[in-house]
Amino acid sequence: MTGPMSFDYAPAPESRSVVDLRSSYGLFIDGKFADPADARSFKTVNPATEEVLAEVGEAGPADVDRAVTAARRAYTKVWGPMPGRERAKYLFRIARIVQERSRELAVAETLDNGKPIRESRDSDLPLVAAWFFYYAGWADKLEHAGLGADPRPLGVAGQVIPWNFPLMMLAWKIAPALACGNTVVLKPAETTPLTALLFADVCRQADLPPGVVNIVTGAGATGQALVEHPDVDKVAFTGSTPVGRQIARAVAGSTKRVTLELGGKAANVVFDDAPLDQAVEGIVNGIFFNQGHVCCAGSRLLVQENVHDEVLERLKRRMATLRVGDPLDKNTDVGAINSAEQLARIRALTDVGDAEGAERWSAPCELPAHGYWFAPTLFTGVSQAHRIAREEIFGPVLSVLTFRTPHEAVAKANNTPYGLSAGVWTEKGSRILWMAERLRAGVVWANTFNQFDPASPFGGYRESGYGREGGRQGLAGYLA
């Protein structure tokens, strides 16, 4: 008999020919692509290769004003007065087109964002379609949403979304807004504008009336112009807590409605009676899914002291099997960091972790020579006082802490200014309920992590923001 073999997977790249990217994109305003008034543009790159994918228009205040004007006109003349059952038809149509074009959209997402094709294909795109299907179903039933007998749309929504789940965040924002009768001006993130621009084409394909969805690309200044525009009735933002604060300040004193979905530093609590192999999967999924670029990532592992060594041994063994590399390869588990800037932030914070005395361990893996990469990493010996236990790293970095009793687990889990999500791992049902009552987090997952469904409301406490997205509750942010 021969000795043990290694079963090396041959490259299995998804074809990028399914997506036809143009070399430059304008802004999508009033149903048409148009160049920005002052003809400014920026480049969007593939973070896995640093290759420039396209030039994208940078919207200035005049462009934002045109977009808001178009949205207002569409709201007043077409979308606002349209019966819910008619709006639903458009949303169902969008959902179906997203499904039909899901391979193309998944490849585009992976190219622009750096996330593995397995995730964009199996997670992002199915959820995008699900979100449109779900809210399409609500459009003609709003009077049954528990928000009054005749809830009315707010008007024009200005929506600013992040780069971690570009198309999914677009769906979370646009689907409920349109179902409720609002029109939108959406600004995708500077580093990931492409799928929003492809979505503009989906809207045209669905014959959505001009002006109902407008896409303005750009950086922070564009977003600022949008949220500060006087004719915007509603501001919806997902992103960092500092920017969320700026937005809250900018709209203070106005009549604009605001929902904010901000950062997090979620605790993933593993008790000694947990199903350990599945808990390890949950820890991995909690922090390495989407390279840890997840606001609800389980970035703090709280493990019961008496199983710490065993859990860590299993976790490291599992992390060593993670396949890091080409995001378009169908067997890749962990892709590229989205930008040089984000990579620099992850490096800076992990260096602080070293300096503060935590012990770093990284999965053994070969990182590509070009692009932005960071190996899946964990820190042990972390205390509540360390910065890596307090600040959102937004990368594939796990801080491991221990606890002795359920009370200590709750106290440590809640000892953060954030409150977006938490995880509990135990075979004891009563303890799950006991923990869920006490954890200050908008979402508590039990024996699972990072599960999303359009029917389930999502959102945070305290510095993780306010308002809920998803479910019946997600309608409240777009109705009066």
């Binding site: 021969t2 073999m5 997977y9 350990l276």
Partner: protein
């Protein structure tokens, strides 16, 4: 892996089987299996895309891991001879095609299989212990085993007493496996858990540990006579068990997935799972087997396609 077991493995595990109470405590203390999580993990592993050179490697490895099986009341001498010939040279037109690991037959066909093999070094596996129900006295089960071994079987596939296991008599199950192992002499013992009758993954994990504690060389999912037979999640749980058992005791135990694996695609998924969950040490016919009959022909068709670039038809592989 149970805490405490890892500190002083051999002594710790010897104490485990000291009494019915200690054995039950040990098995109940194994970490639980979350059904949703285990199934999700298996489903994710099933999305691996194995192409070109990796696929060619996997197909040959899968062929080498097959226990080519016929377990029918209608098995004739001719059927067994055909099976043996096919096991030795699965693709008569391609001498480069590897042999399978073993042929697997009922005890009364072992002598014939051994004779048909001649000097070839293929393993002869036999089911025993009143397969598939296992409902007979220990005396009969041991005689059944000894018969097969005397006739030339060097691998015995026994069934556990599921009735005893499910009613909480773990010690009875353990004692029976120990006795059969003794009756096997130098033959390797594969212990069939019949996971379709154990139903829960927690039971599968406990039964796998029980079999390993009793001295099993392999743990095997199913007889093939009960549905569901082998599934990805059940095999996942068993792969975790053998991995943890080796970490605790230093002894490596093999896994055999039997029943219901018919396509090359499925077989490759099991290989992916074995490599990623248990580790590359298990990617060898000594440590992982497929109990199958129709799987071989699909692997051969895929193998021919990789060589020629086109699909042939069912008439280009041999009937069993």
């Amino acid at each position: 892996m149970p805490t405490g077991a890892s500190a002083t493995p051999s002594r710790g595990l010897a104490e485990v089987a000291a009494s019915e109470a200690s054995l039950r405590r040990f098995l109940a203390g194994l970490p639980g299996v979350d059904q949703v999580g285990a199934e999700a993990r298996a489903a994710t592993l099933a999305t691996r895309s194995i192409k070109t050179t990796a696929k060619a490697t996997a197909i040959d490895l899968a062929i080498r891991m097959i226990d080519l099986t016929t377990l029918e009341g209608t098995d004739t001498e001719g059927k067994v001879r055909t099976l043996v010939a096919k096991a030795l040279r699965p693709d008569p037109l391609d001498p480069g095609c590897p042999s399978v690991a073993a042929v697997c037959v009922y005890p009364d066909r072992v002598g014939l299989a051994r004779q048909a093999l001649g000097a070839a070094s293929l393993h002869v596996a036999s089911v025993a212990t009143a397969f598939p129900a296992g409902r007979s006295s220990l005396v009969v089960k041991l005689r059944d085993t000894a018969d097969a071994v005397e006739a030339g079987a060097d691998e015995i596939d026994m069934v556990i007493d599921r009735g005893a296991f499910l009613s909480g008599r773990a010690m009875a199950v353990l004692d029976e496996i120990v006795a059969v192992k003794q009756a096997c002499g130098r033959a390797h013992l594969k212990v069939i858990l019949e996971t379709g009758e154990l139903v829960t993954y927690d039971n599968v994990r406990r039964a796998a540990w029980l079999a390993m504690l009793a001295g099993a060389d392999f743990v095997k999912t199913s007889t093939g006579k009960v549905q569901p037979a082998a599934t990805m999640p059940v095999t996942l749980v068993m792969l975790e068990a053998v991995r943890d058992f080796r970490a605790a005791t230093g002894r490596q135990v093999g896994v055999k997935a039997a029943g219901g694996i018919r396509s090359s695609k499925d077989a490759i998924r099991y290989l992916v799972m074995t490599g990623e969950v248990a580790g590359n040490d298990w990617l060898d016919p000594d440590w992982f087997r497929f109990g199958a009959s129709s799987l071989l022909n699909d692997l051969l068709l895929q193998r021919q396609r990789m060589a020629t670039g086109h699909y042939s038809g069912p008439d280009y592989v041999t009937l069993d």
